[in-house]
Symmetry: C2
Subunit: 146 residues, 2 copies
DNA sequence: TATTGTTATACTCTATAACTATA
DNA sequence: TATAGTTATAGAGTATAACAATA
């Protein structure tokens, strides 16, 4: 079953990359842009947790997007350590373009399922995510060290 | 929905990496080992298509695994251009170890679902994969060039 | 002391393009 | 001509560890 999940995701990821590439953004960068579009002025740390990623990973991605002028990092109003990240006007435009370019893919995914099935799939995926999210519930056998 | 799929896969992938890392293999390498374990003596090209990956990507992975002595690439019996790839004895052992190390994860995923739901999820995922697999069914709007 | 972010560094996966040698 | 694999090269994502500045 892990393989089925993997296959589906990889298919999605590759289709997305080729679909987005004319716009100069990758599938992962698009996810980052989405996060910003739906919640502006996040700190890098908030971004990292929201993408279940690493601060230094997020930084690397932000540098690339910044170089394209799609995001801007400004001083945080109250916390001098932090930086707020936001889409630039160009970033918002790019995001809308990419969203449209990805419509194909979303349509295709949904068209293979009924409405009820789509909803169900989401629920099941979320359950699986949640179950994997807490590495706490470790079974016996292999030591989990640390 | 793409995001739900992504979140589930990423959770799986990261848990797998940490679970496998004591054994010195990555989640992706484990998938490759699995492919070899369930169908020995594949050519590199067969491996590539089976993993929906690129020949040069597969080669890069094989070099790493070869350096660890887990796989061996030998001359193809009938086609002098091709090479057959197979697990070494050490590779088979490693695969069994890693399989056990991943049992946790598979248990955890399955335990969050009923039997029927598990089966259903697989079906839905396969449908989604299939729908994305044929970029043929392109809708209008964006040109797909080539 | 704990936290935000940076820096340096390294590794894996990914892919393209030009190439060789076989088929 | 087409195919299997190699080579060179590049870039994206990932992560760890040491660090500075601030809370």
């Amino acid at each position: 079953m892990p393989l089925a999940l993997r296959a589906a995701y990889l298919a999605l990821h590759r289709r997305s990359d080729t679909q987005f590439s004319p716009h100069g953004v990758t599938a992962d960068q698009f996810v980052l842009l989405s996060a910003l579009a739906n919640g502006d002025a996040l700190t890098q740390r908030e971004l990292a947790t929201r993408m279940t990623s690493d601060p230094s990973t997020v930084r690397a991605m932000l540098l690339l997007l910044e170089r394209q002028g799609l995001v801007a990092r400004d001083a945080h109003p109250t916390d001098a350590r932090a930086r707020t990240v936001a889409l630039t006007e160009s970033g918002r435009r790019k995001y809308r373009q990419a969203w449209k370019a990805g419509q194909n893919i979303r349509d295709q995914m949904v068209s293979s399922l009924s409405n009820a099935e789509t909803k169900l799939l989401m629920t099941l995926l979320q359950r699986v995510s949640a179950s994997l999210g807490h590495p706490l519930a470790v079974t016996n056998s292999t030591s989990n060290g640390k």
